[in-house]
Structure formats: C-alpha cells, structure tokens
C-alpha cells in the first residue's frame, strides 16, 4: 500500500461524491462544524449535538437497509438496550473516575452482542425480506412492553431502578479522567465535539467499509443474493456483519442519547420511535452514506423547525412532507437534489464530476 492508494479506500462505486471538489467540501464542512461552537449560542450547540446523536442510528440503518437490503424496523431495540445498559452501569459505578466512559463501552458491547445474536437467529434462520422488519419490530415492541411494567421496586439492578414507563433518570453524564488527572465532562460544547469527532470517524470508516470487498459483496447481496452465493460467498456472514455493525451504531446512538439527556424511557423503543429512523433514512436517501448523513440531519432539523413553527399542525405538515418526498424523490431527496443539480449543469456545460450512470439508476429505482 502506498500513499496514492489511500483515496481508493474512501472512494468507489458505493459512495457518491469523489474528486478534489467533494473532499474539499467535506473538509470545509468539518472545519465549519469545528468552529461553530465559537459563534453559536449554548442551546444551538447542544441541539446540534442532539441531532448528531441520532445520526449514528440512521447511518447504521443505512448500512443494513440501503446497502444490505434488509429493512430493520427495530434499531430502537439496540438503541434502548444500550441506553438502559449505560444507565444501569453508570448508576452502579457512579460518576467518579472514568467510570461513565467504561459504562459507555460496556453498553456498546451489550447492544452490539444482542444485535449479533438476533441477527444470527434471523439470518441463519432464513428470515428475509419484509419479515426481517417484522421480527425486529416485534423484538423492540416486546422489549418496550416489558420495560413499561418494570416500575415496581423489585425491578432493580444493583443501585439502579429500571422504573418502568417513567424511565430511568439522573443517569450520570459521560466523563473521563485524562492521564494527568484532568477530568473531562462531556456536556455542552465538549459533548458536541465528542459527537462531531465520532461522526467524522464513523462516516469515514463506513466509507472505507462499503467501498471495500465487504461492501461490494454486501451490495451484491442486496441486488441478487443468489448470484453472490453462486460466486462462492457465504451471504449470511456478510449480512450478519452488516446487521451487527448497524446494531453497534444504534447502540452508540442509544448510549450517547442516555448520557446526553441523563434519561432513558421505554417509549424510545415503542412504535413511533421505531419508525423514526426509517423515515430519516428513506427521506434523506438510503443507498448512499453521505445522503443518509446529510439527509437525516436535515430531516431532524426540519421536523423540529416545523414543530416549533406550526405547533399542532406540525404532524400534518410532517406527514405531507413524507408523502411528497416519496412521490417525487423515491431514492431520497438528497440523491434527487444531486441528480437534479447535475442534470442542470449538464445542460449548461461539460459533464459534472458527481453525476454518473449508477446514480441515475439509484434515483430511478424505488
């Protein structure tokens, strides 16, 4: 491997956007995001970090659904499990030293392990298509139903009361003891930077992943699992891999959400919550990481803005937005917008760097 090979790792047919212009844009966005807290008010910083927290789950679903072709309707099960795990462990260990950070790691391990087990049960059990959605939805609903009734004092793990429908509160924020004994508490702008850093790393890592051999086989599986198998790949292993990574990312969202709000409730695993990631990803664009990332972020922002502006009309407006988006931009509005832009530019001048036939195929398919 030489230095010149590195761009190859991040670019490929599985991701839109390549070339200097695109990467300069990415760098500009990261720089802008990094200096944003210097200029924004406190609420805007924490609100942006809050949106960012959900994007991990969206990216995970994008990997499972957009790239792997399996619609998981139950990412919230991993979200919730990791959230509860973080809560239980952090409350038991206390906020001293780097304990909350340790709790985060354990929560991720628990959420991911559960995703791996559930994925194994489904994928090696021959469940596919829409039934993956139904099983995952059933799991998250059963989990939510169960947690709802844990209000009683007998539902206690160590010092942590599960506390039923009302959820667990007063969960310690994330913090870590640095080597020199300096204590970093991830709140406000610090939490923002943590989320930003993790998002950048996750985005780049997923780009490498989907453009790797693994990603090639995964999209092949989405397109034609039989063919992939006849090329000598064990399809199930790749699907399980994607499902587990998606579960890991949902767990990351869940644990970070819990650490941010010091709070987790069963409702975060119930039906409306479970539908949300699908909406973000479907509306933003599922077959491309950048589209999922940008799309989810914008959808989260727009939904909140609509709720603030239109109060009780918000849900009507959100519903209409979904219908319209799916009608005119079935592949997601980000991919649609990129395609429109490139079509306009093609009319105006030489062929643009972003447009390619594969993109067109994506926007035309459902």
């Amino acid at each position: 491997m030489t230095l010149r090979d590195i761009p190859v790792l991040f670019n490929g047919p599985q991701t839109l956007g390549r070339g200097k212009l695109f990467w300069l844009g990415v760098a500009a966005v990261i720089v802008a995001a990094a200096i944003y807290p210097q200029y924004a008010e406190r609420f805007a910083i924490s609100n942006t970090a809050y949106f960012g927290v959900w994007v991990f789950m969206a990216l995970g679903l994008g990997l499972i659904w957009g790239y792997g072709g399996m619609l998981s309707f139950g990412q919230t099960a991993f979200f919730g499990l990791a959230g509860y795990a973080y809560g239980v462990i952090a409350i038991n260990l206390g906020a001293a030293h780097s304990y909350p950070f340790l709790a985060l790691i354990c929560a991720l391990a628990i959420g991911t392990a559960f995703a791996a087990v559930l994925g194994y049960f489904m994928i090696y059990g021959g469940i596919n298509g829409v039934f993956v959605g139904i099983v995952t939805l059933s799991v998250t609903l059963a989990f939510a139903t169960f947690m709802n009734q844990t209000a009683g004092p007998q539902w206690r793990i160590g010092r942590a009361r599960l506390n039923g429908y009302n959820g667990m509160t007063r969960i310690p924020s994330l913090s870590i003891d640095w080597l020199d004994g300096h204590r970093i508490r991830f709140e406000g702008a610090t939490f923002y930077y943590l989320v930003l850093g993790l998002l950048v790393v996750t985005y780049l890592a997923l780009r490498v992943l989907v453009n790797s051999r693994f990603g090639n086989v995964l999209v092949g599986t989405r397109e034609n699992p039989e063919r992939v198998e006849l090329l000598g790949y064990d399809v199930r292993r790749y699907q399980l891999g994607a499902f587990t990574i998606g579960g890991f990312l949902a767990s990351l969202s869940g644990a970070l959400y819990t650490a941010w709000g010091n709070f987790i409730v069963p409702a975060s695993m119930a039906l409306p919550a479970a539908a949300m990631p699908i909406i973000w990803v479907a509306v933003g664009g599922r077959e491309d990481l950048t589209a999922t990332l940008v799309g989810s972020f914008v959808v989260l922002y727009v939904f909140q803005a609509l709720t603030v502006v239109s109060q009780e009309y918000a849900l009507v407006a959100i519903g209409a937005l979904l219908v319209v988006t799916v009608l005119i931009a079935p592949g997601g509005y980000v991919i649609w917008a990129v395609d429109m832009a490139s079509r306009l530019r093609r009319r105006a001048g030489p062929s643009p760097p972003l447009s390619d036939p594969a993109l067109k195929a994506r926007t035309q398919r459902g």
Binding site: A44, F263, T307, E312, V316
Partner: protein, 412 residues
C-alpha cells in the same frame, strides 16, 4: 399542499399576532416570558388541551388586569407531541434559547421525569399542574394537582364503609398505576380490608374480556379502577355491556377523563371519584370561572381538573411573585417557606405546603348516577399533601430532588 402552506402561514401569523398584541399591551417593561409545554397532539391530547386553554385564560385575565409586578406575561409554547424526547428538547429550548425561568407543563409522570433534571440543572421552576402518583420532593417543582393522600385517604375509607372491605384493583401497568395500587393496598389493609386481586394492564390495551371475568370470579365488594388513556377507558363500556354492575372508585375518571360525557349512560353508573375539581362544583367562584372559560372556548367538552389546576398554577405563580416582590426563585421559595402562599382558586382556597411544595386542596367526592348526572357525596374543605412531609421530605431544609414512593422511602 397549498392548503397546508396556508395552515402553516396562518398559524405562524396567529403566533405573531398574539406576540404583537401582548407587546402592544405592555407599557414600558418587557413582557415576562413563561414556558408552556403541553401536548397538543398524540394519545392524550384530548385531556391536555384544557391545560393549554386554562393557561391562556389565566394569562389573558392577568394581563388584562395589569400583569404581574407590572409586567405582562407572554406564553412561549411548544407541542411535544406526547414524546418524552421532545419534552426534553423543548424544555431545553425554553430555558436556554427563549430564556424562560418558569415552565408550566408535563402531563404524564414520564414527561415530568424527563424534564425535571433539565429544570433542576438550570435552576428553573416547574409548575406541575397535574393530579399524579405523588412523591416528588424537588425544590424546583411546585405541584398543584391532587396527590394520593388527598385522593385515596379520602376515597378508600368512604368506599370501605359504604360498600365493604373486599376490593379488586385494576390499574394501568406503569408507574402511576403501580404506585396508586401500592397506595390502595396500603390503605385497604390498614383499615382491615382485603385486596382480592390487583390486575395490571399494559397501556394501549383495549380489550377487557378476561379482566371482566377475573373480577366476576373474585366477587369483590367494590372495584378500584386506575386505568389510563383512551384505549383503557374502553373497560367501562365493556364492563357495563357484560353486566358487571359493581360500585367503582377511582382517582382519575370523571374529573380528568370526563367519561360521563364520553360514554352513553348508564355506563359510568356507580363510579365514585375524589378530586379537587369537577366542572359541576356548585360554588359561585367556580360557576363564574366555568362561564368565563366557555365564553373563551365554546367548544370545550368539559373543563377537567388538569385545566383548572393549570389555571390556578398561573395564579399561584402571580401570588408567589407578588409576595416575593420578585421573580427570583430563591425569594419565591422563601415565601413558600412561610406557609402563607394561598390563593382563592375556582375550586376553593389552595395553599402551598412548605415542606413538599405541593398544594392543599378542597377535595370533593362525587358519585355518578344512572343518567350520568353527578352527586356530591362528601366534601373535605382542606386536605394537605402531608405524606412527603411525614416521610421526611422538607424542602425548607434540604432539596433531594427525588421521587419517593411507599416502597422507596428516603434513607435516613
């Protein structure tokens, strides 16, 4: 789409209009922003909309009379859509972006628990105008709804005396239902009664065939119903249709869910409820309040206790600020500590208990007749929220910011 846009524009314009009207009224001082965080949509919106109306009615009246300490009030409100994450989102927004120091809001215990840490962290003030399971000992919260000692320790002895000692309980399977069941069990056994069965039902369940059979099998003297939400209230219809004629007691029907207005008579016959407010309360101040309300909101089916509690909460805030001569939380709490923070609410006089920061209430026991008219069986002129103080919560000395239950008492 254009209709939607019009809707959006219209509502945005309405919002602006309200703001500018309020601004025009204010003379020299800027208006005081207060946050309102109640569900306008979602499963319980039909019960929480009266809270929104009550808050607006109170603010309109107060502004028309010159505001608080010479400042008009301006409501900043968001619709959290029955979603706890949105409650948090908007509580932060209200405090951090809109700069409010006092929030009126949250209906379910879950939404209250979701925003309480945020309120505490920013040292803001939450008025929780909600009948609930009780037990929150938090200096940043003032509770103006009924609590179990006010509702159960009045209702249960009455029912046991009148109907008998064998009780069956059905309750929503979450914190409110479970803690209320704990209370019922405690009070019934203390009075020498017997709980024949306590059935917990998941939220959202609407089919009660098996439950009705279980009750028939147990043959209780009366039934305590603590079912919650739209789906679960179908119990009453199904029980009546199955011919389960049994006296019932509850802390949340009629006054909160106005089931006597929503079901066809005689479904709710034999229901007994203790609450601090019913629209039917016969008292001049209450009658005048009901008339003012219906003049402003002619389509309101029923002014439930949530609506009246929210209305009173805003007046209580006015009283406290005026006593303190300031909107500062510490000064307000100093006034609460005097034990003299009382107002004449539509229901009667209410005072804030210094130890628990919950309101005392005049409690009324109603029973429902076959034609769904109601009958006042008994009135307790003043019941204090004594339980928290009794178990050791004293907010004048210490602020644990905890929620206690009969099975989770403060460690001494």
């Amino acid at each position: 789409m254009s209709m939607l846009r019009n809707l959006a524009i219209a509502s945005a314009a309405g919002l602006m209009l309200g703001v500018s009207a309020a601004a025009a009224l204010a003379d020299d001082k800027p208006p005081l922003k207060i946050g309102l965080l109640e569900d306008h949509s979602g499963d319980i919106a039909i019960f929480t909309m009266p809270k929104v109306h009550g808050a607006h009615l109170a603010v309109d009246e107060i502004n028309a009379a010159g505001g608080i300490l010479g400042r008009k009030l301006e409501i900043i409100e968001y619709d959290p859509q029955f979603d706890n994450a949105k409650f948090q989102e908007f509580a932060r927004r209200l405090i951090e972006k809109d700069g409010v120091q006092v929030i009126f809001g949250a209906a379910t215990s879950a939404s209250r628990e979701a925003i309480r840490p945020i309120i505490d962290k920013d040292n803001a003030l939450l008025f929780y105008a909600q009948q609930y399971e009780g037990g929150v000992c938090d200096g940043n919260m003032i509770g103006t709804g009924g609590v179990p000692e006010q509702q159960f320790s009045t209702l249960i002895p009455y029912m046991m005396e009148k109907y008998g000692k064998k009780v069956y309980v059905i309750a929503a399977d979450y914190n409110f239902g479970q803690i209320s069941t704990e209370w019922t069990r405690k009070l019934v056994t203390e009075a020498g009664g017997q709980i024949l069965g306590a059935e917990l039902i998941p939220l959202g369940v609407s089919q009660f065939g098996q439950t009705i059979q279980n009750i028939q099998k147990a043959k209780p003297d009366w039934l305590m119903t603590l079912v919650v939400g739209n789906a679960q209230s179908a119990f009453y219809e199904q029980a009546a249709a199955a011919g389960l004629h049994i006296p019932m007691g509850s802390s949340i029907t009629i006054g909160l869910g106005f089931e006597h207005k929503r079901f066809k008579p005689p479904t709710m016959q034999g229901m007994h409820v203790v609450m601090n407010w019913f629209e039917e309360i016969d008292r001049p101040a209450a009658k005048a309040f009901v008339a003012r309300w219906h003049a402003k909101y002619p389509n309101e089916t029923y002014i439930n206790d949530m609506g009246e509690n929210e209305y009173s909460a805003i007046y209580m805030y006015k009283k406290l600020a005026e006593m303190a001569g300031s909107f500062d939380l510490d000064k307000i709490r100093a006034q609460i500590a005097t034990g003299k923070a009382c107002i004449d609410a539509p229901e009667g006089q209410i005072c804030i208990d210094p130890k628990s920061q919950h309101a005392s209430h005049q409690m009324t026991l109603l029973s429902v007749n076959a034609d769904h008219s109601v009958k006042v069986e008994k009135v307790w002129p003043r019941v204090d929220p004594y339980w928290l103080g009794q178990i050791g919560c004293d907010l004048t000395k210490d602020d644990p910011k905890e929620q206690y239950t009969p099975s989770n008492l403060p460690s001494k």
